[in-house]
């Protein structure tokens, strides 16, 4: 029995018939003599039988299509893994790309604006340009078509506007009278009749006039000076002005052209005359006039002001007679409220007065090459200069862009690093999961 261990090592092969004939005989002899080893053989046989009895499992129906599908996908593109990755994450990739572009653009933009493509070099820090000018003109042009037509009529304008003023005065008179009746109701005692009459004479019609002019001129500075003269002559003033060199409007000879905007305030009576004069300083490309009649609002407010003033006086009167502290306080409170209101009305009326007294004219001046005035022969003399200038300009622009791109990469680098790390983590995760399950 001493060779039981030796035999046991051979039992497995003995069962499978994998032993050499001599060895098998030895094992057989041993088994006959050794019941323990015989038992062992039986156990192993049973175990093998158990294993062999395990049925073949039917694979799920989707397995074959799934395999074939993945193989077809593989067959379609050699670098499938990458394209699958891209395909699955198309949205993510798109978002990442947009982000990258934005980040790079953030770096690139300033260079573009300052150096190369920038439309203009602003002489002062001002944002008005042609694109802003257009919609404004359009808007006004539409809303005040009538006024424009009237104003555009070259002759008889004086007559027509005069006639209108006649009518206006009549109308105003009527309104004033109505207004006085109102005063009579509320402020009769306080207001001597003569004073009201005086007001009526002053009033006239309260019309706020505005105009916009767009001019194309041959010489900006000259035109600007001419406008200044008009303003001086009419007794108005220049509210604001600015000028800048237009980059989008470069002449053939490389000359810089100016553009500008002047806001004029002209005394109401001189409005049309000033407009007419300025209009003839150049070629008018757009003109719009619009008047805002605030007569009624003005009168209403005046009436309210009067009534408040009366109220104020009355309160003062009561205040002087009041004895109790409590009453005094209450009256003063009320007085305070009334005075605030009065101030509000006065300030609004002053604003209106100002606007009526001085009409506003916005003039947009644009310097252009007088193409229709003279035939300009091609200037060969400075051709080389212009070529050189252009070359330098473009080269500088390209250098700016290259520089900005490098800066842009700097901007993008953190994003790229994070995205790369994220991808690696994701890939590692996927590999781990690849077999584990779907």
């Amino acid at each position: 029995m001493g060779n039981c261990n030796e035999v046991r090592e051979q039992l497995s092969l003995y069962i499978d018939g994998m032993l050499e004939p001599g060895e098998a005989e030895g094992v057989e002899n041993h088994l006959k003599a050794c019941p323990e080893c015989s038992k062992e053989v039986e156990e192993i046989r049973r175990l093998i039988r158990e294993c062999g009895e395990m049925e073949e499992k039917e694979p799920p129906e989707y397995l074959a299509p799934m395999i074939i599908n993945s193989i077809r996908k593989q067959a379609r593109g050699k670098n499938t893994r990458f394209s699958r990755w891209l395909g699955n994450r198309r949205i993510v990739s798109a978002a990442a790309a947009v982000l990258l572009v934005l980040v790079v653009a953030k770096g690139v933009m300033p260079a573009l604006e300052n150096g190369f493509w920038g439309g203009m070099k602003a002489a002062n820090d001002m944002s008005t340009d042609q694109t802003q000018e257009e919609p404004v003109a359009e808007e006004y042009g539409l809303s005040s078509q009538e006024a424009l037509n009237k104003a555009m009529a070259p002759e008889g304008r004086g007559a027509s506007s005069e006639a209108e003023f006649d009518v206006a005065e009549d109308g105003a008179g009527g309104q004033i009278k109505m207004g006085r009746e109102m005063f009579a109701l509320t402020a009769d005692e306080a207001q001597p009749p003569q004073q009201v009459e005086q007001k009526e004479a002053e009033a006239g019609r309260k019309i706020i006039n505005n105009a916009e002019l767009s001019l194309n001129v041959e010489n900006f500075d000259e035109s600007f000076r001419a406008i200044q003269q008009v303003v001086e002559k009419t007794g108005g003033f220049i509210q604001s002005s600015n000028s800048y060199v237009s980059r989008s409007n470069v002449g053939e000879d490389g000359r810089d052209y100016k553009e500008g905007h002047v806001a004029l305030r002209i005394p109401g009576s001189e409005f049309y005359r000033a407009l007419d004069e300025i209009e003839h300083l150049g070629k008018t490309t757009n003109k719009s006039v619009f008047g805002n009649d605030v007569t009624k609002q003005y009168m209403d407010m005046e009436a309210r002001l009067k009534s408040k003033e009366v109220q104020e006086e009355r309160l003062l009167d009561i205040l002087s007679k009041a004895a109790k502290v409590e009453d005094i306080l209450r009256i003063e409170n009320e007085l305070n409220r009334v005075r605030t209101e009065i101030e509000m009305y006065v300030s609004q009326m002053r604003d209106w007065d100002n606007l009526v007294q001085y009409s506003t004219i916005n003039v947009f001046i644009r310097e252009v090459e007088p193409k229709d005035k003279q035939v300009s022969p091609p200037k060969m003399g400075n051709l080389w200069d212009r070529v050189k200038k252009g070359f330098i300009l473009t080269t500088n622009g390209i250098l700016d862009i290259v520089e900005a791109l490098i800066v842009g990469i700097g901007f993008a680098l953190p994003v790229i690093i994070i995205a790369g790390a994220g991808y690696l983590v994701w890939r590692g995760f996927r590999n781990k999961k690849s077999i584990q399950g779907r």
């Binding site: 046991r8 175990l47 062999g52 499992k57 039917e58 074959a64 781990k432 077999i435 584990q436």
Partner: protein
């Protein structure tokens, strides 16, 4: 065999349809191999899919002298072993055996010829065996699956695993003893548990 060889040859030339036929021929075997090795259906599917995909990618390198069946077996087997090792190392994904079909089949075939008690007993031992197999180390599990469950010859196993015959012999022998021990261990704990309950 000749038909299979032709299919393989066509596949090597890039005939997708031929390869798909090979897939249909072998998917069941590979699936079962995966199932016995990994212990559950999902992993079995994944193993099968990945094995055929890899086979397709490297069909050009396939040597026509060997059999396609052996080759695809080898690919699948390596995948299983890699995966098992990876899981053992990371301990992240313990293998779940609770979907063992031997449990489910019981109800379906209980009205067949066998007596119920016998059948239950049979199912129980079979489940026990499968669980014990799942606890074996990969190299032993491989041997039991190939030799005792799928009934491959020693030579085939040697070819699939790329081992020499002697190694296969000793490994099968050791694997069987190991399995026997596992089952005994299991029965022992079960008995102990039973005693504790009583």
């Amino acid at each position: 065999m000749a038909a299979e060889l032709r299919l393989v040859e066509r596949s090597k030339e890039g005939d997708l349809q031929a390869f798909e036929e090979l897939v249909l021929m072998y998917q069941k075997q590979i699936y079962n191999l995966g199932y016995r090795m990994m212990g559950n259906e999902e992993d079995a599917c994944d193993i099968a899919q990945e094995a055929f995909l890899r086979a397709y990618k490297s069909i050009g390198k396939f040597n026509l002298k060997s059999r396609f069946g052996t080759w695809i077996y080898r690919i699948a087997m390596n995948l299983c072993i890699d995966e098992l090792r990876k899981r053992k190392k990371t301990k992240l994904y313990p293998i779940v055996h609770n979907d063992n079909p031997e449990d489910k089949q019981y109800k379906l075939v209980s009205d067949a010829g066998d007596l119920p008690e016998e059948l239950v007993e049979k199912k129980e031992t079979r489940l026990k065996v499968q669980q014990a197999i799942n606890r074996l180390p990969e190299d032993h599990r491989t041997m039991i699956v190939l030799r005792d469950i799928q009934g491959r010859s020693y030579q085939e196993i040697a070819d699939i695993m790329g081992l020499n015959l002697g190694t296969v012999k000793s490994r099968i022998s050791r694997a069987r003893y190991n399995l026997k021990e596992e089952i005994e261990k299991q029965t022992g704990t079960e008995r102990r548990e039973l005693r504790l309950k009583c």
